[in-house]
C-alpha cells in the first residue's frame, strides 16, 4: 500500500501532462457548427448577378425595386454537392482566400457565394475586379441567413451535400492545406456517393 502511494504524484503528473499535451494541439477557436447534418435553413434572397446596383441613378434604383431580379432559395443546393462560401468586401481574409477559391472552382467544384452584410455595388465590383468563383451568389445584406446558419464572421465555408444537408463547416480562410486535408476528402466522399445520373 505504501509503495502504491509513492506513485500517486507520478500518476497525477502523467495524467495531467497527457491532457495538457492533447490540449496543445487543439485550436481553441474551433467551434463545431450546430448545423452539421441539418438542412440548409429556409431562405428567399436575391441573387447578386441579377441585381442592378452598379448604376446609382434614381431611375435605375426604381427599376431595381420593381424588378428584384432572380430570387434564390435553399433548393439551389439540391442535386449537386456544393461549397457555400460566406464572404464580404469588408473582410480582409476573404480577399486572401479569393484566388484559391478561383482555383478550386476551375477544377469543377461548385461554389455558392453568400455575400454577408455587404453592399451590392461593392460586391459586384469585387467580383468584376478579382474574378467570380461562384456559380451563384446569394445576397444576405441584413445577415438573416447568416444568423440562421450560425455565421459569426467571414470567411466561413460550408460543405453541402446533394440533398441540401450541411455536412461540414470550415471557419476561416480556405487555402491549399485546408482544402487538401479537411474539405476535399469530404467533398470527394460526397461526390463519389452521388447517384450516377447526378455526377
Amino acid at each position: 500500500m505504501e509503495r502504491i502511494k509513492l506513485f500517486i504524484p507520478l500518476i497525477i503528473f502523467v495524467v495531467l501532462a497527457a491532457m495538457l499535451y492533447w490540449g496543445l494541439g487543439r485550436d481553441p477557436n474551433a467551434m463545431p457548427s450546430a448545423l452539421i447534418s441539418r438542412p440548409v435553413p429556409v431562405f428567399q434572397l436575391p441573387a447578386l448577378g441579377g441585381l442592378n446596383a452598379g448604376n446609382t441613378s434614381a431611375a435605375d434604383n426604381n427599376a431595381t425595386v420593381a424588378d428584384p431580379g432572380e430570387v434564390l432559395d435553399e433548393s439551389i443546393f439540391l442535386g449537386q454537392v456544393s461549397l457555400l462560401n460566406v464572404w464580404a468586401t469588408w473582410c480582409v481574409s476573404c480577399r486572401v482566400e479569393h484566388p484559391y477559391l478561383l482555383d478550386i472552382a476551375e477544377t469543377g467544384v461548385r461554389i455558392i457565394g453568400l455575400n454577408y452584410k455587404d453592399e451590392v455595388a461593392a460586391a459586384q465590383q469585387w467580383l468584376a475586379k478579382y474574378g467570380d468563383p461562384y456559380e451563384q451568389t446569394i445576397v444576405d445584406a441584413k445577415g438573416a441567413l447568416g444568423l440562421d446558419l450560425g455565421v459569426f464572421g467571414a470567411p466561413e465555408t460550408y460543405l453541402v451535400d446533394h440533398l441540401g444537408v450541411i455536412r461540414y463547416k470550415h471557419i476561416g480562410v480556405v487555402d491549399d492545406r485546408v482544402w487538401r486535408t479537411s474539405l476535399q476528402p469530404r467533398y470527394q466522399l460526397l461526390r463519389d456517393a452521388l447517384p450516377e445520373a447526378d455526377k
Binding site: L147, L149, G150, F152, G153
Partner: protein, 189 residues
C-alpha cells in the same frame, strides 16, 4: 528647459503640448464616463422594465461566438450586436427564456451557453466539483482518523534499556545547565 533657450516658437509648442495633455486627460475621463451608456441605450429600446431585466440577465448568460471570453453584454463585435438585437426581438415577441436559449443553441451550438445544460456530455463538468469535494472530505477524514489512532497508540511503555538511556540523557542535560548558567538569567531570557 529647451523652450527657454530657443525662444518663442518652442514656448508656444510647449504650451501647446500642455494643452494637448489636458485635452487627452479630459477625453480619457469622458470616455470612461461613456462606457456604461452603451448598455443603457440598448435597454431603453425594450418596452417594459420586466423585459429589460430579463434581457440584462440573458445577455450576461450567453457567450459571444466570436470573442470567446466575453458574454454578449460585454462584447461589441458585430455578431454580438446582432445576437442582442435578436434577443430583444424574441423578448418583445413574448418568447420564453427556454425558447431563446433553444433559438441560439440551434444556430451557434451549446458553445454559446455560459451555463451549460445538464446532459450526458456535461456530466463530467457538473459532477467534477462535487466528486472532488467528496474526495477531499474523505482524505480529511482519513487523516484525522489516522492521527487519532496514532495518538492513542503513542504512550506505549519504553523498554528497560530505552528508559535507562533517557534517564542518562536527562541527567546529563540537567548537570550541564547547572554548570553553565545562572538559573535566573536562563528563566528571564
Amino acid at each position: 528647459m529647451i523652450a527657454a533657450d530657443t525662444g518663442g516658437a518652442r514656448c508656444y509648442f510647449k504650451e501647446g503640448s500642455l494643452a494637448n495633455w489636458r485635452a487627452i486627460t479630459l477625453s480619457a475621463l469622458l470616455l470612461v464616463l461613456c462606457f456604461p451608456a452603451w448598455g443603457v441605450i440598448e435597454v431603453d429600446r425594450l418596452s417594459t422594465p420586466e423585459l429589460s431585466e430579463r434581457y440584462q440577465q440573458l445577455v450576461a448568460e450567453y457567450r459571444c461566438p466570436k470573442c470567446q471570453n466575453q458574454n454578449l453584454a460585454e462584447s461589441n463585435s458585430p455578431i454580438s450586436i446582432d445576437l442582442r438585437t435578436e434577443i430583444r426581438r424574441l423578448l418583445e415577441e413574448g418568447a420564453s427564456d427556454t425558447q431563446i436559449s433553444d433559438y441560439l443553441v440551434a444556430r451557434y451550438g451549446e458553445f454559446v451557453l455560459y451555463r451549460p445544460r445538464v446532459q450526458a456530455s456535461t456530466y463530467l463538468l457538473w459532477l467534477t466539483p462535487a466528486v472532488l469535494l467528496v474526495l477531499g472530505l474523505l482524505v480529511v477524514v482519513f487523516i484525522v482518523q489516522r492521527q487519532k489512532r496514532g495518538a492513542s497508540a503513542a504512550p506505549t511503555a519504553l523498554s528497560g534499556s530505552e528508559q535507562e538511556t533517557l534517564q542518562a540523557l536527562l541527567e546529563e542535560t540537567q548537570s550541564q545547565q547547572d554548570k553553565t548558567a545562572n538559573p535566573e538569567k536562563v528563566e528571564s531570557s
